[in-house]
Symmetry: C2
Subunit: 513 residues, 2 copies
């Protein structure tokens, strides 16, 4: 058994059985090893950003670490942006990056690069195997690292000769260290703060879906405080039957207004809120300057322990929560725009849909319209790096083959990683991609205005507008083997949505707004 | 004048007037500053790999540094792969990367990342401006760094408040330090070595085109030695009227065979040759173990001084070189394959074409067929990171609007940065893209075999084949606003090529082989 085989057996023995791959020559022995293990599901992505984004979406919906297979330094570079998003989401991802044979690294061959340097700029854990006998143990350590603290980015660099040389027996990854717990004193202080006037419980991470979310709602209700969620969440359960909560906002002034009465903010599963960007003359933080912000637990901590600790102190376990009731918007009249598109989506979204949202400027009306729709999970681009939606939708669909995935994306953001459409077609994934074609980086127009610039001249326009030539998303979908439709009216979009919801498999709807 | 304006004026005063841009919010003041300077040509790319690859192609054909505008850490990550290629090509590139305002960096906002870390993993020079008053000086230093040593990767990180705060007067970049020169002793030794039996002069970098290439040929002829070029070159002048030379090969055994009689190898403008990858039981170096390799000058040194020094010692200045004569292949008969496609391309390629070659497995027959075609420049993917062809062709076409650019790419490699098609259409660039659709990563099949694996199973096939679904390049071109044609026979390809050569502007030919 060579090193590569010892690694594949280690992955399988440790419960890692999905690999989003974009291999190159230096990974050939790993490919050969995977080839002899059909129980590993290898999913080819035509660009490395597809692999890392898919691993992120897969982790968010399954809680399981997937492997990515990446080529040397430049291939890892291509994965970087969606590793950034995965890192901010707290997703566990195991990157296997090939490298030149150890004895070849002394030479300046074309692909020689700073593999460890680029990895350390984004990974929580990086190790280069030094010999083929170490690969199994290093792989097990990498899996453990990817599973630690609720999910981390772990990167194992595999020089080619450590893959083809003699390996050890496979190693089963040990359990990650237990999650950190909040102290009793912190829990006491937090419980007291939640009872105070102007208090809010801000929940994030694992507290945003399932039983922990219900427990958090009980805690807030028992304390009589507001229950809030950050602007973006890795996985937010929403719609019918879920506890109502308030979500932070993107515009700095509106967000400050939302939080203006906050005196005590208890953060549980998230860091204290901070504005997405700084603007001249505006504060970095949306909370009032004199509010007390209690950092009870960030997303890497034991939230079950924290929320039970709060519930015990507040006698919250028997609270009855009035959940969100199903209320679908009326069928919209008039022009197709973000608001009417949102209403149409809310009306057709099936129970248990997974909505991956990166419709930057169109997103807000859609998120609003779907708040009381059928129960669904909403996945956001946690690191703000656009190009995450299609890859994450791919990974979510691999994780949950029985759930409809709806990928909402702007045309500008979809262009970064459009290659994922091909993987959706190849794997027959049940993803409906909705591209909002506003023909430009509309967010940047807003941001320029927020900076105080009101006149837009030739060069700025040249960098904002994507209308010359027009992107033809129906053709782009066809090019990747995905059926596409264009909708320019409410009727057209409704028909396209109904057809997509009734069918299984990937399709794309270009919504011209 | 704010910091951003001081930077734009510094760029223009220093002769940097092309900016390949993919801005985000943190770059808004830079966008606004560019907007008030229409003499800066801003070219929008829909993915950051397009910006860095374009800056590389632009530098190779113009010798001038272009700026890229990139968003924070993840945006830079997307540019990383083609910065790797640019670095290996010795191209000068100036990256302007935005960042959060200095006072905002203390918070973990979504886009906060290790901007300097990811930059240092690939850039020769990285600096974050500390205040708006420093931006002009930092920009001038960055330009100087990008121009040093024949061309480097220089990255200036611009926190948002250094862009919007008060700037200084613009600063004109000073000339880079003089290039290093070879010593007289090294030149004596190299001249003597070239006269010995089994000698070869291996030239690279700036010695591969124009007068220096002719001087190198005179030196080799006067010494009576072989004249050779590396496997890949940033810009290799070829075809009619150019001095004949031998090129190193990709396959390890064939390359060793080519070099087996070498006793003295003098490297001028390049590092000593090293195999692209290491293989079990095969050496890293293609040169015979007992050959003497003289590292006279790498690509960063003063090659004009070196070659003149050699020519003086060898009395080479009056040598008459018999240049390559124009010999076009016969019109091919039979099936369309890499060989017949190469013959067709060689027949139609106009004088002064710029050929950007990333047709990984189809490349060799085409490069062979075009050796005696009309004079042209051949640009290779220097760092081996695929996805460079379409961006580099974009940049080359911006640099040389009067020359026909022919981009040769495999379907696998074109998928990494297909967004560049849109920029070609938007800027009406005269690029003919030829996609060799072999429906897979054929190079990997060969590499797996070279590793000794002969059986290809389900998982390996899943990672090599791109035939389910088929990519439809005519549709992909249309989606990006580029006219496309599919050729499946010699007749169809000939007609498509003739039409493309007769017209101006971008088009794509999918060659099914």
């Amino acid at each position: 058994m060579n090193g590569a085989q010892s690694l594949v057996k280690t992955l399988l023995a440790s419960g890692v059985d999905v690999c989003f791959a974009n291999p190159g020559t230096s990974e050939m022995h790993f490919v050969a090893a995977l080839d002899s293990h059909p129980d590993m599901r290898c999913i080819l992505c035509l660009f490395e950003g597809g692999t890392s984004g898919a691993a992120d979406g897969y982790y968010r919906m399954s809680g399981r670490v997937a492997a990515t297979m990446l080529h040397l330094a430049p291939g890892f570079g291509n994965a970087f942006s969606n590793l950034h998003n995965a890192r901010k989401a707290g997703s566990g991802v195991l990157n296997v990056m090939g490298d030149h044979a150890t004895y070849h690294l002394q030479y300046d061959s074309p692909l020689k690069g700073d593999t460890e340097g680029v990895s350390r700029a984004i990974s929580h854990w990086t190790r280069s195997s030094l010999s083929s006998a170490d690969v199994a143990r290093d792989g097990a350590d990498a899996i453990r690292a990817a599973r630690a603290k609720g999910g981390q980015i772990a990167t194992l660099v595999l020089p080619a000769d450590t893959a083809w040389g003699d390996g050890s027996d496979p190693v089963t990854a040990t359990a990650p260290p237990p999650l950190h717990r909040a102290s009793e004193a912190d829990l006491d202080a937090a419980a007291a703060a939640l009872r105070a006037e102007g208090a809010a419980l801000l929940i994030g991470g694992a507290a945003l879906h399932g039983p922990l979310m219900r427990l958090a709602a009980q805690v807030a209700q028992a304390a009589g405080c507001r229950l809030m969620a950050p602007l973006f969440s890795p996985r937010l359960e929403r719609g019918e039957g879920t506890p109502p909560l308030e979500q932070l906002l993107y515009p700095v002034d509106a967000n400050a207004e939302l939080l203006k009465d906050i005196r005590k903010l208890v953060c549980c599963g998230t860091n204290p809120p901070v504005n997405f960007f700084a603007y001249p003359g505006k504060p970095s933080l949306p909370t009032p300057a004199d509010a007390q912000v209690l950092e009870l637990a960030d997303a890497t901590m034991d939230l079950e322990h924290v929320l039970n600790g709060l519930a015990d102190r507040l006698r919250a376990h028997d609270q009855q929560i009035s959940p969100v009731e199903l209320t679908l918007p009326d069928r919209p009249e008039g022009a197709l725009n973000a608001a009417s598109a949102g209403a149409l989506i809310a009306r057709v979204m099936p129970e248990n849909a997974i909505v991956v949202n990166e419709s930057v400027t169109s997103g807000f009306p859609i998120v609003t319209a779907t708040r009381t729709a059928r129960r669904h999970d909403l996945l956001a681009t946690m690191g703000g790096a656009i190009g995450q939606c299609l890859p994450a939708a791919t990974g979510a669909a691999v994780a949950c083959p029985d759930r409809k995935v709806i990928a909402l994306t702007g045309d500008g953001s979809a262009m970064y990683t459009l290659q994922s459409l091909w993987t959706m077609a190849r794997e027959r994934l049940d993803v409906t991609v909705i591209v909002f074609a506003n023909r430009g980086y509309q967010i940047l127009r807003g941001e320029l205005a927020a900076m105080g610039v009101t006149q837009v001249g030739r060069n700025a326009q040249a960098m904002f507008d994507v209308d010359d030539p027009l992107l033809d998303w129906v053709a782009l979908a066809k090019g990747h083997g995905v059926e596409g439709t264009r909708a320019t009216t409410v009727d057209e979009m409704e028909a396209a949505l109904e057809e997509a919801m009734a069918a299984k498999g990937p399709r794309l709807i270009e919504v011209v707004i």
